[in-house]
């Protein structure tokens, strides 16, 4: 007793993607199945029934397949599942890690970007070692304001697939180490502000640091969808729109 709950609570605390399937009505009401992901050697992962049972092997298998889909879509769903001549009334409750936007550079664009991300329910972090940029006045609305070197701060964070990293400092010496950190993690989005020319220089610096071209291609640059504006608000909107688009396409493709 309480074993299943403790497994679920542990997965959620560790920011792990998981799903709990529950029978909502009928004789098996209240029965549960916990579905987690098993990471394979080559980096891909598959959903596995980790604990509990809905009471029938065939039902568990069918529910596992649907839970895997729901987990990929990060979407809790109520479904009616026909198994063994019965309609099973199920909730697939997906627990997805909190999405997190990590902004390197407490520059002007970061101010509206934090607002947009929070409106969408993301946890926001702004990192800048320069005290005149990273002020409470400018960033009273951010969840976490970190005054330290970007690469050091990033190394201490547990960046996962639900983390999105954006570099905005305009300063290679700050951006490049931060990008290397982000590329060494499974973050779901990496974007870097700067013109095509700036990015070409950045690519050269990354190559020199031994980063592979395949890794470098994960960086979205020039950053943001092409909405055609130049104001801080417009650039922030273009970045936010790109992050949402990339995230949703990854979901559709299944990670």
């Amino acid at each position: 007793m309480a074993e299943l709950y403790h497994a679920v609570a542990q997965a959620i605390r560790q920011d792990e993607l998981c799903a709990v399937v529950t029978v909502l009505s009928g004789d098996e009401i209240g029965r549960k199945l916990l579905v987690r992901r098993e990471r394979k050697v080559e980096g891909s992962s598959s959903a596995v029934a980790a604990a509990g049972s809905l009471g029938h092997t065939a039902l568990d298998q069918a529910a596992l397949a649907r839970a895997a889909e729901a987990m990929e879509a990060r979407r809790t769903a109520r479904i009616s599942l026909p198994v063994e001549e019965q309609e099973w009334d199920l909730l697939i409750d997906v627990h997805a890690p909190q999405e997190r936007l990590v902004i390197v550079g407490a520059v002007h664009i970061a101010i509206p970007l934090v607002s947009f991300a929070r409106e969408l329910g993301l946890y926001t972090v702004v990192i800048d070692a320069r005290p005149i940029f990273a002020t409470q006045d400018r960033f009273g609305h951010v969840d976490e304001l970190i005054r330290s070197w970007p690469d050091e701060a990033l190394q201490e964070m547990k960046l996962n697939e639900s983390s999105y990293v954006v570099t905005l400092t305009h300063d290679e010496k700050l951006d490049t180490p931060a990008l290397i950190c982000a590329l060494n993690s499974p973050v779901g989005y990496i974007g870097a502000l700067g013109s095509k020319r700036t990015h070409a220089k950045r690519v050269a610096a990354l190559q020199e640091a031994g980063v592979s071209d395949q890794q470098i291609s994960r960086i979205h640059a020039p950053i943001g969808l092409d909405l055609g504006g130049r104001s801080p608000g417009e650039i922030a909107l273009a970045i936010m729109a790109e992050i949402v688009q990339v995230r949703n396409r990854s979901k559709e493709a299944g990670r």
Partner: protein, 104 residues
Amino acid sequence: MKEILAEIDNWQQAGKRVALATVVQVYGSAPRPLGAKLAVSEDGAMVGSVSGGCVESATVQEALEALEAGAPRLVSYGIADETAWEVGLACGGTIEVFIEPLDW
């Protein structure tokens, strides 16, 4: 769910039984999405939410009864009139809530 784990821990460590209520269906656009949770301790304390406020107290009642009965239940709350809107369920319609003793 993450935001209510600590309080559930506190209750369980104090030896209290806990019930969990989860939004399992939303008709119309309700203020809290599918999967939103409210936990209730045996002495009627609550953490989390399943609506903008107007069905919380009814849910606590059902949760205490579910603890007594030792069995889960599925409850429907219809919110159709203007009064209901005003008390906080911002978008009307009906929600279904699954209420269960946290004994698994």
